[in-house]
Assembly symmetry: C2
Homo-oligomer: 257 residues x 2
């Protein structure tokens, strides 16, 4: 039987609230068994861009990663956020290592092709080096992975953290019984965005499609849940979506059937 | 007999010149056998501080690391510079990993005590986790280490890269026959700062003391050479100081006797 591996993707809102962030990391450090944390940090990167007088570039509401924006992403994701997380986990005796998709060729990607929008220096994942993660986990090291990849030819690429979480979970399912959790600002999948009590305990693929059609599930929640179903379809054992309280664990459980 | 390990500390001036930086990394990737790269990035951090409207704080010519300065150091050292180096080394088929002293408790330090000057969030090295570096090297992974450490209690500390280089070299001498090279903006130890032809081929401890007394060796070169002699006194096999051209290798060789 395969060992259990918990993979958590933590959202930007949690990283940006000092109290919640501290509590989240303490709880994460207490998870039994092997674990891995994935983070981005879009909000913190945006704040730095503004401080530097660089206007975030958006086309049809989607962020464009130009050279300067990528530099700020590398500084905040791989630098400030990643090392802050690792230093706090070390304090809680969780021996961790902060890495990006560039390190040890963890995530190879291709610059997204230009169709209607040129997203700039954004990568779509091609390959995850699961063997390297396994080596770390076998040495009882907890990887903390930030949302950058590279093309193998010297170009770092901004990469969606939700997508990294599903791809790493799929790859690691070759070795482990993977439980993937997305931790968001809100509590999970809600029927009424203003009522925490409307949290769904479960959602399957057909119900998801129905809620998208009725425009109850909208905006950023759609690609997030698409990543969840993609992971489930590719042998990830367990996928859920919830808030920052991983101890309480009242997450929405995602299933195919 | 111990395996050979080449440890190189690269200076800020080299990192800041695009052409020299590219050539340096290409040459580094071609070094035979096990190797490790150490970098800081003070010049690039200073530029970002200025862009953010933060005045570098200096007391008696020495930089003071306050909270904002530390954040900028983390962003530039562990973020932009570290990941740029790793992505370029991967391009040259040198499988590398970018880490700081925080990752896997690589470098534990203590905040420098306040005597006449309060340097702020600066760490003096207490312990290097050589076993972790050995694990990486044994897996044919080249560590790229940036100049940050931590106190084990959640505080990241700015740490002198020259000092990290000597401490890591001393620790790794338990396992390897270590050759430590400091790559500077200038060519090595010069008798006349304006004449490359005045480069010393060798310098020993007594000659060094003589040149310091005559004020021929001055300023930043003194702590750098002190680090070299400290390494030699603590079993590091070979120490030299030179420019960016590690292939030509016309470095000043440092010896005790």
């Amino acid at each position: 039987m395969k060992d259990k591996l918990t993979i958590i993707k933590v959202g930007g809102g949690i990283l940006n609230d000092q109290n919640i962030f501290e509590k989240f990391l303490f709880n994460f450090s207490k998870i039994n068994g092997k674990k891995l944390l994935i983070h981005g940090g879009g909000i913190i990167a945006s704040n730095l861009l503004i401080k530097l007088g660089i206007s975030p570039k958006l086309v049809k509401g989607r962020r464009i990663t130009d050279k300067k924006t990528l530099e700020v992403a590398i500084m905040t994701y791989a630098g400030l956020i990643n090392k802050t997380i690792v230093s706090k986990l070390q304090k809680h005796n969780c021996n961790s290592i902060g890495i990006s998709g560039v390190d040890c060729n963890l995530i190879l990607s291709k610059k997204r092709k230009v169709k209607d929008i040129d997203y700039g220096l954004v990568g779509d994942i091609e390959e995850v080096n699961g063997g390297f993660i396994k080596t770390l986990l076998c040495s009882n090291i907890t990887p903390v992975v930030c949302s950058l990849s590279h093309d193998g030819n010297g170009q770092i690429l901004n990469t969606n953290a939700d997508s990294i979480a599903s791809h790493i979970s799929i790859e690691m399912s070759n070795y482990y019984n993977v439980s993937l959790k997305y931790c968001l600002d809100k509590s999970g999948v809600l029927i009424d965005q203003n009522k925490t009590s409307s949290l769904l305990k479960n959602i399957n693929l057909s119900y998801y499609k129905e809620l998208v059609e009725k425009e109850i599930i909208i905006d950023g929640m759609i690609p997030k849940l698409d990543n969840c179903f993609y992971a489930l379809k590719n042998e990830v054992n367990n996928v859920s979506v919830g808030g920052h309280d991983i101890i309480k664990n009242n997450f929405t459980n995602i299933t195919l059937d």
